[in-house]
C-alpha cells in the first residue's frame, strides 16, 4: 500500500506538469481555433532561456528564472502571435497548424545548434528532501510540483471566472463577433491568451526539466503527452486538460509499477484511442458540432 501511495503521488506530480502544457493546447484552441504542435518545444525552450541567463549573462538562479519567464512570455506569447499566428490565421487553421509543426523543428534544431545536442543539468527550483509518513516516502519535490501546479490552475480559473478581463477572454473564446459588438477588445484578449500560454509553458518547463534534464529533444515527448492529455480530458475545457494530464501521469506510473515498464509508453496512446472511439469530446469536454 505504501508503494501505491508513493507511485500515486509521483504520478500526480508529473501529471500536474503535463496538465500545464495541456492547458496551453486548450487556451490556444479557444483563442485561435488552431492546434499548436510546437507546444512541446514551448515547454522545452524556457529552460534554455534560464540556463542562458545563468551561464552567458552570469545571473544568479532566481534572476535567471525571472529572466527566463519574461523572455518566454515575450517570445512564446507575443512574438509567436505577432510573427506567426496573425499573418497565417486569415489563411485558415490548417496553414497555422502546419506552420507550428515547422516552428517545432526550427526551435528544436536551433537549441541543438546553439546549446549542443547533449543534455544539460538543470537546477531544481523546489527543495530536495523527503518525509517518511507511515512508511510512505513523500518527496518534497513531488509535493511542491503538485502544489505549484494546483496554484497556477486555480489562479487561472479564478482569473478567467472572477475578473473582468478573464470574462472578456472567455467571451472572446466563445464568440469573438458578439464579444466585439459588446465592446470587448478582441485582439487584446487573444494576445492575453497567448501570453498566458507563454507563462504556463515556462512554468511547466522549470518544473519538468530537473527531471528530464535540459535537452533540445524534450519537446517531442512532452508535446505528444500534453496533446493526448488535452484530447483525453476534453480539448475545449481547461478542467479537461487538467484531468487528462493528471490521469496520464498516474496511469503511466501505475502501469510501469504494476503491469509493464517496457510498454508504458503505449498506455497513453491506448487511452487516446479509447477516448476517440467512445467519448470523442473527451472525458470532461463538450461536443462541438460542425454546421453545414
Amino acid at each position: 500500500m505504501e508503494q501505491f501511495f508513493q507511485v500515486l503521488l509521483s504520478g500526480l506530480a508529473t501529471g500536474s506538469i503535463y496538465a500545464l502544457a495541456a492547458i496551453g493546447f486548450t487556451l490556444i484552441w479557444q483563442a485561435a481555433q488552431t492546434v499548436n504542435f510546437a507546444q512541446g518545444e514551448f515547454v522545452m525552450l524556457p529552460a534554455f532561456f534560464l540556463l542562458a541567463g545563468m551561464h552567458f549573462l552570469g545571473m544568479p538562479f532566481w534572476m535567471a528564472l525571472i529572466f527566463g519567464l519574461l523572455l518566454a512570455v515575450f517570445v512564446l506569447g507575443f512574438l509567436f502571435k505577432r510573427v506567426l499566428v496573425d499573418p497565417l490565421l486569415k489563411h485558415g487553421g490548417l496553414s497555422l497548424i502546419i506552420a507550428t509543426m515547422a516552428l517545432a523543428i526550427l526551435m528544436k534544431e536551433s537549441v541543438k545548434e546553439f546549446y549542443s545536442a547533449e543534455a544539460q543539468p538543470f537546477p531544481e527550483i523546489v527543495p530536495n528532501g523527503s518525509w517518511d509518513i507511515s512508511g510512505v516516502i513523500v518527496s518534497l519535490t513531488d509535493i511542491s510540483h503538485l502544489f505549484i501546479s494546483a496554484v497556477i490552475v486555480i489562479g487561472l480559473q479564478l482569473f478567467l471566472n472572477r475578473t473582468r478581463t478573464g470574462r472578456c477572454m472567455q467571451a472572446t473564446a466563445q464568440n469573438p463577433g458578439v464579444a466585439e459588438i459588446l465592446g470587448v477588445n478582441v485582439k487584446r484578449m487573444v494576445l492575453y491568451t497567448f501570453l498566458i500560454n507563454g507563462v504556463l509553458a515556462a512554468l511547466a518547463s522549470f518544473l519538468i526539466t530537473p527531471v528530464y534534464l535540459a535537452k533540445f529533444s524534450n519537446g517531442e515527448y512532452l508535446g505528444l503527452i500534453a496533446f493526448i492529455a488535452a484530447i483525453v480530458g476534453g480539448f475545449n475545457q481547461i478542467r479537461g486538460a487538467l484531468a487528462g494530464g493528471l490521469l496520464i501521469g498516474v496511469l503511466d506510473n501505475m502501469t510501469a509499477t504494476y503491469i509493464t515498464a517496457e510498454y508504458r509508453q503505449a498506455v497513453p496512446l491506448l487511452l487516446l484511442i479509447a477516448v476517440i472511439l467512445f467519448r470523442p469530446q473527451g472525458l470532461l469536454g463538450t461536443s462541438e458540432g460542425r454546421e453545414a
Partner: protein, 375 residues
C-alpha cells in the same frame, strides 16, 4: 597564351592531386545528437584531440589525417547508411559507433567492404560474430561485468539484488551477463527492471526496487538515463548501494546528476581520475581544449586514433586488410606507444584487454578505489 593557360591548369590539377594524396581519410561515425550524444561527442572530442597531435607531429606515414564527421542521431539505421557513406567517400578506417545497438547493425557494412572499424560499443555480441574488421576501445560487458561479481559477493555481501537496465543491445548484453554472474555465486536477482532508451521518468522503477527490499542495485543504463535514475533514487531516498559498469560514474553522469551521483560505485575500463601519469596528462589536455572534463568515451576516441596511427606505421602502408590482420593478437605497450595511455591488447576476435578500475563517486568526483588487473 593558350599553352600558358593549359600549363597552369595542369599544374593546378597536379598540385590538387598532391594535396589529396597527402591526406588519409577517416570516417567518424558517431552519436553526435540524440540520446547517445553525451557518449558520441566525447568519443569525437577525444579522437579529434589525438588527430591534432598526430597531424602536428607529421601525420601517419607522412599523410595528414582528414576526419569526416557523420552524425547517426543515435539511430541504428542511419548509422548503417553513414558507415556506407563514409566508405564510399574513401574512409581508410571507420571510428565509431559508441552505441551497441548501432554498432551491431553498421559493422556488417564495414565488414562487407573490408574496412577496419574501431568502436566504442560494449555489447558482448559485437566481437562474437566472427567479424575480422571490428575492434573495441573498451571492454565488452562480458569482460567488464564479471569484475563486479566479487564486489557484490564479498564487499557488499549481497544476498538479493535488483538490476535496472536499458532495453536495447547494450543493456541486454550487460543484463544477461549480470544475471549469469549472480547465479554463479548464488545471489538472487529479485527485481529485474528494464526501461526504454531515452526514458525520462524513473519514479516507478525506483519504487519497484524499494519494494523488492534488495541489498544492492546494478544499474546498467546509458549516461542520461543513469543521471535521471540517480536523481530519482535520491528523491525517493533509495538506500541500497548503486553499482554500475562504466556509465554510472562517468563524468557526464556526475555533471548531470549532481550530488545524487555521490556514493555510486562502478567498474570502469578507463577513467581520467586514474592515478596514472599518461591518463592525467590526457585529461588535462582534453579539459584545456574543450573546457570540460573527459569521460571514458573521450579516452576511447583518443586511443582509437592512436591505434590507427601505430598499426598503420607498423604495416608501413594503408592496407586495410593488413591493418585488420595486424590488430588481431596485437599488444601495444604504453612505454613504446604512449598514445595508448595504457598497455592494450586485442585478441583474435577484436576484444580488448587492459588494466581497469573500481571507482566511487565522492563529492562529485570519481575516486579510484582499486585497480583491476588486465584479463
Amino acid at each position: 597564351m593558350i599553352k600558358k593557360l593549359l600549363g597552369a591548369t595542369a599544374l593546378s590539377v597536379a598540385m590538387a592531386s598532391t594535396a589529396i594524396a597527402d591526406t588519409v581519410k577517416i570516417g567518424f561515425v558517431g552519436e553526435l545528437s540524440g540520446g547517445g550524444a553525451p557518449a558520441g561527442t566525447q568519443y569525437r572530442d577525444g579522437a579529434l584531440l589525438a588527430v591534432d597531435e598526430i597531424n602536428a607531429a607529421g601525420g601517419i606515414l607522412g599523410k595528414q589525417i582528414e576526419v569526416s564527421l557523420y552524425d547517426t542521431q543515435t539511430d541504428p539505421q542511419t548509422s548503417r547508411a553513414l558507415v556506407q557513406k563514409a566508405i564510399d567517400e574513401d574512409a581508410y578506417v571507420v571510428w565509431g559507433t559508441v552505441y551497441s545497438s548501432s554498432t551491431i547493425v553498421n559493422m556488417l557494412v564495414a565488414q562487407q567492404n573490408g574496412v577496419p572499424q574501431i568502436v566504442g560499443a560494449e555489447a558482448p555480441n559485437i566481437t562474437q560474430k566472427g567479424n575480422p574488421y571490428v575492434f573495441r576501445t573498451a571492454y565488452g560487458a562480458h569482460r567488464g561485468v564479471p569484475a563486479l561479481t566479487g564486489y557484490f559477493r564479498d564487499t557488499l555481501k549481497a544476498k538479493n539484488v535488483a538490476v535496472a537496465w536499458v532495453n536495447n543491445e547494450f543493456g541486454k548484453g550487460g543484463h544477461d551477463v549480470f544475471i549469469k554472474e549472480m547465479a554463479k555465486v548464488g545471489i538472487n536477482v529479485t527485481a529485474d527492471i528494464p526501461s526504454e532508451a531515452g526514458a525520462a521518468d524513473f519514479a516507478a522503477d525506483v519504487s519497484r526496487i524499494k519494494e523488492a527490499n534488495v541489498d544492492a542495485v546494478f544499474v546498467y543504463l546509458h549516461e542520461e538515463e543513469s543521471a535521471r535514475f540517480l536523481r530519482e533514487a535520491k528523491k525517493q531516498n533509495l538506500q541500497p548501494k548503486l553499482v554500475g559498469e562504466v556509465t554510472l560514474t562517468g563524468q557526464k553522469v556526475i555533471d548531470l546528476a549532481g550530488d545524487a551521483a555521490n556514493g555510486a560505485v562502478a567498474h570502469v575500463g578507463l577513467t581520467a581520475e586514474a592515478n596514472i601519469e599518461s591518463i592525467k596528462e590526457f585529461g588535462a589536455k582534453f579539459e584545456k581544449k574543450y573546457g570540460h572534463k573527459t569521460d571514458h568515451n573521450g579516452i576511447k576516441g583518443y586511443v582509437a586514433a592512436y591505434a590507427t596511427k601505430y598499426v598503420t606505421e607498423m604495416n608501413g602502408s594503408f592496407d586495410q586488410e593488413k591493418f585488420a590482420q595486424t590488430m588481431h593478437g596485437l599488444t601495444l605497450d604504453v612505454a613504446k606507444y604512449p598514445g595508448m595511455l595504457l598497455t592494450t591488447s586485442w585478441d583474435q576476435d577484436g576484444e580488448l584487454s587492459r588494466e581497469s578500475f573500481m571507482v566511487e563517486v565522492v563529492d562529485g568526483k570519481q575516486v579510484v578505489t582499486t585497480t583491476v588487473a588486465a584479463n
